[in-house]
Amino acid sequence: MAADVASGTSVVEVDGVTRHYPGVRALTDASMTIRGGEIRALLGRNGAGKSTLIRVLSGVERADAGSVVVAGGRLGAGGVRRAAELGVSTVHQELSLVPGLSVAENMYLGRWPRKGGAVDYPAMRAGAAEVFARLGLDIDPGAPVGSLSLALRQLVEISRAVREQPRLLILDEPTSALAAAEVDVVLDAVTRIASAGVAVLYVSHRLEEIRRIAHTATVMRDGRIVDTVEVAAADTAHIVSLMLGETAGAAERPPERKVDRTGVPLLAVRGLAVPPKVLDVSFDVHPGEIVGLGGLMGSGRTEVLRAIAGFGPASSGTISVEGRLISRPSAAVMKRLGVGMTPEDRKDEGIVPLLGVDENLVMSRMDTVSSGPTVRPGRVRRAAERLIERLSIAAASARTPIVNLSGGNQQKAVIGRWLHAGSRILLLDEPTRGVDVQAKAEIYRLVRQLADSGAGIVFVSGELEELPLVCDRVLALRDGRVASELAGPELTTDSVLSAAMAA
């Protein structure tokens, strides 16, 4: 695969690029070249400098020192416009589409073709259809973007970049929100783009994807480019060790925990259905147990949690807490019974960004920090400080606006909110999404501590490989049902993945 690429001429030459922010050396002396037709993976932990490198390449940031040359032209201080002129197209992590406009209009956003002064819809649709045909995609150019699935939106976004005939296409984690089958379509499209001679810089955390499409991989750490390796020749342990900076072994499953499953379960779900995604889901959670719910995007994981927490009404099925059947599980009732749920979208549904960590922690239950109707600031502070200590949340003070905390610490505070409310059943939806490796490990540890103290926990994750690291038992959801249950020695990344993906 790499052979035909090695003969290509270099399209991108980055030489000694440095970019410092006040107090942060975001990028230091970075050099690399990418050839036409080459797919170059860019790897590194959060904060390793990948984003800064991308921002420099796409002209959003100016390099303090060094040079970037694309297809023979110097980027210099020309900014975004110059980068676009040289043929650099970037697909950012956040989707930048307008949901109310059609696919074709989005592909020509701001550069709509005109005919006699009027926006030329037929030309736009034809142009979009032509790009889709080239990439082997089946998307209706007339459909509003708001009606498309996440994967199709991602493809529209990539197609928009391709329409501009780029020399260098930068893709920033294009598959992070997609399920396996959807990923295939994206990867296929990327391969086709590269085979037309475009240099592709592909940022991803998913090694498996990188192995499938990338020829070479550049690894970054602490703002520097550590190494560039041939993907085919490098084994995973080597790449991981380049990323981590020390030889870290593959994550080990923690020692088996003892869970007493003979008593009355803390939470019992029977025949839960939330059409169309969830058809028939049943499971128990015992005190001290961590049950993982695994499955691909769209397998109904979130819907199950929301139904249990009383947010989305289930069309059928029963929920019992400590043996008591709950006839009408509303959010208020479930909260009173000790059910707490942390949402998957931390920014939009989890935190109140500008309020302090303290208020974010106690908002689940005000009466314990009030006398009568009056909230007592002293009690709020003491309650918050206890939780900050217990969960080891890194915050300058209890009053620091929570938005200033890192993702991992925000997540701990969102979990802590339910500890403050005295919840015994914790439903955690993607608690490790968007947090770095260390924060993930801390969240795993926290979850296990909570289980040790008698809580029952349902842990939902789309990163299936993390379920064996934290759960006692994993239920793989597929087609709206529990496809299989894995525990003990048979609970491994492989078994979870294959259970979730098997057709």
């Binding site: 930048s96 307008v98 949901p99 109310g100 406009l101 059609s102 009027a118 819809y121 509003p144």
Partner: protein
């Protein structure tokens, strides 16, 4: 009379397929207007007479002309509440220009239109350059122009000089009220702008996802200034037509018009959050509240009570719209 009908067949199919909630809202409004016509035709004496229908067209123009501009403003995720005082002040300006400052009829009208564009542009500039919320920027215009109109005239009407031009503007052409003709012509202009110009599509893009629009190279500041300059200009047009019809400029005229305009736009299915809305919907919204207003007068409902009834009907209409579009979205996702 809609722009959608002129679009090619394929486009119509895909729009119909995905925008079920939207066209449902428009069909619902047409049905509601028909029901009102039947009900009022049989209960309100004189409702169906030609005179009354032409009078309604004239009333509709007062709301409609500004509503075309406000539709774009709301689609862009902004709001303009300055319409009422802006119309009143425009009527004062054109009357004083023609009668007291001796500018002549044409220059007085031109001055008024330029002034309207200028104060609208000022509001837009405050929004675009300093991020002053458009509600506040236009609230300032609302208060300042309302006060200025009354101050300049001591709250007395300023009589227009007799002129053929004013007679045509305030009267009719071939039996049809001139303001209604202006309204219809501007409707087609704005429907075209919304659908077939880069500016119009930029308005939708900004209202739907402003960061994405910025990244696509759309000049947000320019669009925002233009939006408010447009509503300023349309307010001035409405003010000139109103002055011509009343024969005087009046600092207290058109009080509360801004709420009729916003109500018409929202009833027409434009989302206050931005990104969604059509000119056709606004046209139907204007027709809806005009018919209700006219019917309440003909039925002899107490004028204070009229406001109560209108308030209830407007909220119910928007409620139905919201419920319908929510249901349409739910069916689309299943």
């Amino acid at each position: 009379m809609t722009v959608i009908q002129t679009a090619p067949e394929q486009q119509r199919r895909s729009v119909g397929r995905f925008a079920g909630g939207r066209s449902l809202n428009e069909i619902g409004l047409i049905a509601a207007i028909l029901v009102l016509y039947v009900a009022l035709g049989s209960t309100a004496a004189g409702f169906l007479t030609l005179d009354n229908q032409l009078g309604m067209l004239r009333d509709a123009a007062t709301v409609g002309i500004a509503a075309w501009g406000v539709t774009l403003v709301i689609i862009a995720g902004e709001i303009d509440i300055s319409i009422g005082p802006a119309v009143a002040f425009s009527s004062v300006l054109v009357a004083m220009g023609a009668a007291e400052w001796g500018l002549g009829i044409g220059p007085a009208i031109l001055l008024t239109l330029l002034a309207g564009t200028a104060w609208g542009g000022l509001a837009g500039w405050l929004r675009a350059r300093f991020e002053v919320p458009s509600f506040i920027a236009t609230l300032g215009i609302w208060s300042a122009l309302g006060g200025l109109g009354l101050y300049l005239t001591d709250a007395l009407p300023v009589v227009l000089p007799r002129s053929g031009l004013f007679e045509v503007l305030g009267g009719d052409v071939l039996g049809i009220p001139t303001p209604a003709i202006v309204m219809v012509v501007l409707f087609f202009v704005f429907a075209y702008i919304a659908r077939y110009t880069g500016y119009g599509r930029s308005v939708y893009a900004i209202g739907g996802n402003a960061p994405a629009a910025r990244m696509a190279g759309i000049n947000l500041a320019r669009v925002r200034v233009l939006l408010f300059a447009t509503t300023g200009l349309l307010s001035a047009v409405t003010g000139v037509l109103l002055a011509a019809r009343l024969g005087s400029g009046n600092g207290g005229a058109a009080s509360g018009l801004e709420f009729d305009v916003i109500a018409a736009v929202v009833i027409g299915g434009t989302a206050l959050a931005g990104g969604r809305g059509t000119m056709l919907g606004t046209l139907l919204g204007v027709a809806f509240i005009t018919v209700i207003g006219n019917g309440l007068v003909l039925l002899g409902v107490n004028s204070f009570l009229q406001n109560v009834v209108r308030g209830v009907i407007i909220v119910v209409a928007v409620l139905v719209n919201v419920v319908l579009s929510k249901r349409a979205r739910a069916t689309r996702e299943t």
